[in-house]
Subunit: 364 residues, 4 copies
Amino acid sequence: MTPIPIPTPASPPPDVVRCAYLELVVTDLERARHFYVEVLGLVVTAEEDDAVYLRSLEEFIHHNLVLRRGPVAAAAAFSYRVRSPEELDKAEAFYSELGCRVERRPEGFVRGVGDSVRVEDPLGFPYEFFYDVTHVERLAWRYDLYTPGALVRLDHFNQVTPDVPRAVQYMSDLGFRTTEDIQDEKGTVYAAWMRRKPTVHDTAMTGGDGPRLHHIAFNTHEKHNVIAICDKLGALRLSDCIERGPGRHGVSNAFYLYLRDPDGHRVEIYTQDYYTGDPDNPVVTWDVHDNQRRDWWGNPVVPSWYNEASLVLDLDGNPQPVVSRTEERELDVTVGADGFTYTRKGQDDLPSWKQGEYKLGEQL
Amino acid sequence: MTPIPIPTPASPPPDVVRCAYLELVVTDLERARHFYVEVLGLVVTAEEDDAVYLRSLEEFIHHNLVLRRGPVAAAAAFSYRVRSPEELDKAEAFYSELGCRVERRPEGFVRGVGDSVRVEDPLGFPYEFFYDVTHVERLAWRYDLYTPGALVRLDHFNQVTPDVPRAVQYMSDLGFRTTEDIQDEKGTVYAAWMRRKPTVHDTAMTGGDGPRLHHIAFNTHEKHNVIAICDKLGALRLSDCIERGPGRHGVSNAFYLYLRDPDGHRVEIYTQDYYTGDPDNPVVTWDVHDNQRRDWWGNPVVPSWYNEASLVLDLDGNPQPVVSRTEERELDVTVGADGFTYTRKGQDDLPSWKQGEYKLGEQL
Amino acid sequence: MTPIPIPTPASPPPDVVRCAYLELVVTDLERARHFYVEVLGLVVTAEEDDAVYLRSLEEFIHHNLVLRRGPVAAAAAFSYRVRSPEELDKAEAFYSELGCRVERRPEGFVRGVGDSVRVEDPLGFPYEFFYDVTHVERLAWRYDLYTPGALVRLDHFNQVTPDVPRAVQYMSDLGFRTTEDIQDEKGTVYAAWMRRKPTVHDTAMTGGDGPRLHHIAFNTHEKHNVIAICDKLGALRLSDCIERGPGRHGVSNAFYLYLRDPDGHRVEIYTQDYYTGDPDNPVVTWDVHDNQRRDWWGNPVVPSWYNEASLVLDLDGNPQPVVSRTEERELDVTVGADGFTYTRKGQDDLPSWKQGEYKLGEQL
Amino acid sequence: MTPIPIPTPASPPPDVVRCAYLELVVTDLERARHFYVEVLGLVVTAEEDDAVYLRSLEEFIHHNLVLRRGPVAAAAAFSYRVRSPEELDKAEAFYSELGCRVERRPEGFVRGVGDSVRVEDPLGFPYEFFYDVTHVERLAWRYDLYTPGALVRLDHFNQVTPDVPRAVQYMSDLGFRTTEDIQDEKGTVYAAWMRRKPTVHDTAMTGGDGPRLHHIAFNTHEKHNVIAICDKLGALRLSDCIERGPGRHGVSNAFYLYLRDPDGHRVEIYTQDYYTGDPDNPVVTWDVHDNQRRDWWGNPVVPSWYNEASLVLDLDGNPQPVVSRTEERELDVTVGADGFTYTRKGQDDLPSWKQGEYKLGEQL
């Protein structure tokens, strides 16, 4: 089946500044609040009976994460800030031309945010655009509030979608640039990283059954902050929240950790990728068989990281149906029965202590 | 079979100050030298056609590691420094009374070390004791020589032996104190950590087929130094040297990384355990089923880490025969078919992303 | 004397992406090369008899610093990258309209850079704009090349100019935004930080006798990298290169260190300021009397840091004359005879160990 | 005046394990508690109306610091742990033979500690020895309790005494070994570092008017923890607690920070000195004129650090009279009118930015 490309609208896209916040539906708000506030140390800007508004320490807009109580764990909105109020008109026109469902609310969809446009985008994701937002205290200098694992910024989203090149083309039309991707020798694209702000990404498109949320990522300042989160989870006997890592990514060169919240939503802790703001910033393409692409140290990616992700909601709050990926899957071509991988291209003499790892996929 | 305990000698043991160096036989001296000097940054004190003498940056004695070319990869000596020259007489008497083979060489067995006693100890390990040693420059202040992953001290050895309580009793007679151990509810001991200097260990006794060398461990100052070693291995496309970690130990509370050198000898990079020098220092006993005992973050221990280890040599340079452990094995009782493990005692509701990991042992 | 404001040109400014490189004249090229390459670890992209081209580890353009042998230590060019080749025409028009001397060279002024515009700007600084540049390997993943104090990016310039508000208006016309500044209760502005890329600054305007170069700043990833540079300077017995720090800035919230190169040019090592890319990013104004504005820990700023700076050259390579600041000087109003400063506003009960420090200025 | 040496007792000294705790009299217990608990994060083991008992995170004995309300800020006891209960008899005999006032209390002098000997030692310091102590939870694994600047161990005391060689001889008789010292070319000793546990010191003898307490020092794990304390003090507008640093010591090679508590008692935060446990550990002697001896980066030592210190109490709780040092003072021979200092021996061409610093002493 040849997927139908998403047409490029004649309308110019809105000028997106950065990923700004995620609205997340959680089934047990108290447990979720404990995880994000007591364990991870996000700051509560506001809370209501059914929602908690959280921000990172260097943020000056109202929130980077909204936790909302709901019946099904899912992502309700991927929200981006645009450069001016006028950009919302462009967002409306851009998505209307694409035939998407578009809803605009001058009073905003969530507390702290004003005039906003929400859409069900061509990939099925609930995207939001806004400019107007309540300013709050930037706590960057409030070191009396810092914890050892302090989360200082929202870094990016990561979305699961069946057809990565199709998604990349649409996102490019929306004004995003690719910084890195993973391909194989036949040109199959397994994932792509795309940015507006000059970091490696504001969002990534990960090939798989979708639309689903793969994860949301927050920054720490240093690597020891990431380790401190692991140590604290151990002390709280919550180490089973740790799904993968910590480690060094090949893609992005960042130091990472993946956690799962009480609903299974995945959260990445991320630090020290690189500047990508030049117009001719070199795109880095990784070979899917390179065992250092996902973890620079060659540590295995656990299968759940490839397979599990969160549902996303339509604008009525109902889960979007999940469409299967038809192309080859990264898990299969690397660790599965037919997969192969290498540390040094052309060499396949695995040491004894690595022989099990590359075959994990088929057995689990 | 009830193992025969090792009798306590009437002779007092030598007063051991600390673990001082390991003599390691490598089959390809150039590759081994590259690994320890170019990759890990140990400092060359001296070298000969068939041997390289290496030390860490804060060391003032001649070496912490001797690499010697030989036909079979093995550990030739676990060497301890004693408090005075007179302690060598005690070592001779102590091991003679135990019926061990004892050899004393006033000129020493290796370059840089004088009067020494080597023995084939009751567990089959080649132990050495010495006081007289050449002093060399302590490079602690030579920050111009530091690398991002600088190794600053030798921390400990780790030995594999079939019967841990038997080994612990003998080592206690030798004057070592237990700081931590791993047991099960029936009292089976899976491993024990023992010290002379006031850290968690100068050596550990790990239950398994032995006598074998499990690993040698060097200290870094900080955790980022350990990460820098991983990053460098990735850059050199040597990430398959990384066997396990980095991570936080439960036992010892140290931050760790396990590497395998070109001969498969295991090297730990280790930092930030705690002071144990008080006579009533509390012993910490870990439940073998506690999933955080070996990795505080609950990350799985790879099977090779349990199963593989280096041969040790007798005083003629021949490999010691390896005797199988007859008691239950830690790998089996935790990750194997009959094993079980927990993050929170009494709870066994594993999240989806952890379900594979606990069963790795039987499948690999 | 009322300074004459710089008029806002009708021509649009060039779209500047970021500060890109500094051309620095040094009187002893070998000593300067040793300092920047052997001590600080910048990477040599190219070298000639009279010039060395250096870059940081995450850079992909040809260089971030050119060291050129010359008779007088000075800054020859502050060079910015623009978004496209067409922006050079805008630069020409913008500065021509301002009556500045403008020189355009299609072949570029330095190796590795193509079509460029250099100007003597209204403040007397030699500014350069370019788009065309040779790409080189981004060494971000080359951890085998990292040193403990690895410099990973060029962060910013800092310029000394007599009249800060006048400079700020001109730079705003050039498209820069103010992120932070230092003022007193009368509205005198002592310094301002201005950015194009979304960090605290691409350049800062520091009030003083000018035009002069105050410093160039490079980023490290973490704070320990900054400390490693100090430690290495100590080991090399070059600690007298350390002028100020390390410390935490109040302004910018970054961790810093100021060095002086063999010619006395000042180099800052800088890490961990914050994201400023939103159009309504809050401007932070610091009280000049707040003792934590320049050093968050209240450590004194050495007088040389206020008083000393490097000459800048005109487009013929001759030093620009230095014009004195006529407004009050920050050194005088804080640490001098008539100055005052506070840790907690309204409290002036200095502890005994601080009483000397605040009066340093008048005595040195 | 030739000082009278302290005779070496015929009685053997007690076998001291390590420095264990300091009893500190504070004039405002609430402010002191806030400083040590809320700001520095020491853990409260117990508290009473007039005293608070604090420990570091890796400690398992009852406390490392006792804050006791009293009329005069002073140190009431420097307390050392001995290897067994029997060592207390040796302490009694040792000090009785020296003619010191000795008091033994089987019930102990403070909560949590049993049978103890307190003496007014030959230098006028209130020294305590004990073995019996209440064990408490070692919080090493309780990462949920860690702050960014977590203090994990008591490291050492530092005492001011007029005649350093006299003090060193007495402390050597007590079984301490010198690890480093500062001398001049005439053999005048300005300070000496002495240890029982194998670190650089359990206490240091600093030449000056005494007996006085120079400081108590706690360990952090890493350098960023020290920086975090500074950052927090800035956030709390308590930066004037920072007296000196952070920096790297030449002596000890440790990373350091000196704070002053609300009573002016000096607290050092200290990390990463080196192992000194070998009997022939090389003693490092520093030249008093070496500008890197006290700060490896050549940053100036503030005069208050040399001049100010805390009174100590006799066994009745009255301040000991302070005797002046008659030998040359380190402050005078380095930064004062007649002092000189160097970064590179034999070179005295100070850069402009350093010329003020070396002369600070006489002017302040």
